[in-house]
């Protein structure tokens, strides 16, 4: 597609439920990133995928968070047993190589845990 697409754009879930957030990167981009942005704050790195290499999961805040990338394209971020502190905007970005040409971000998924 023309840009990075994320779905849903908004998600309200009850505490304790699992949620899945989806990211469709720009076609041909080999690198994909997930970031989290809490209200009024900067972007916190979560996870990075590059081609067939093992993902860099160093930013995942707990074992309730996981992500996968199927076929080197679409990625899903899963949050299990959601907590209120998980409420944030989850942003996905892709690039054609490892952070050398500026990442292109999607519009994000706003997650609200009630």
């Amino acid at each position: 597609g023309a840009g990075v697409s994320q779905s849903p754009s908004n998600k309200v879930t009850e505490k304790g439920k699992d949620v899945e957030l989806r990211c469709d990167p720009i076609s041909g981009h080999t690198a994909l990133y997930w970031y989290r942005q809490s209200l009024g704050q900067g972007l916190e790195f979560l996870i990075y995928f590059q081609g067939n290499s093992a993902p860099d999961k160093s930013g995942l805040p707990s074992d309730r968070f996981s992500a996968e990338r199927t076929g080197g394209s679409v990625s899903t971020l899963t949050i299990q047993r959601t907590q209120q502190e998980d409420s944030a905007v989850y942003l996905c970005a892709s690039s054609s190589s490892s952070a050398r040409d500026g990442y292109t971000f999607g519009s994000g998924t706003r997650l609200t845990v009630v």
Partner: protein, 112 residues
Amino acid sequence: GESVGLHLPTLSVQEGDNSIINCAYSNSASDYFIWYKQESGKGPQFIIDIRSNMDKRQGQRVTVLLNKTVKHLSLQIAATQPGDSAVYFCAEKVSGGNKLVFGAGTILRVKS
């Protein structure tokens, strides 16, 4: 993850004036820097980037300056327009690393 502050600094400028947004980056091993603009409800939008072998780069109405000695990055916007109102983030990438580390952001408000 990296921690950031709850209250973003705000820069208010008059329409037509020049704006300078500053950023102190954290890692002397960083070799690539990007400025992003984020409008309400949208993802960050790439503005301009610079590599560590340069100290200045110009784009359309924007200039980025890099001072590696004091680990300082600035974004200059010429003839600021109302459409420039947004939150601006600097980001750095460590040489050989995979991820961009973002600063806390600065709110730019343009007064007409």
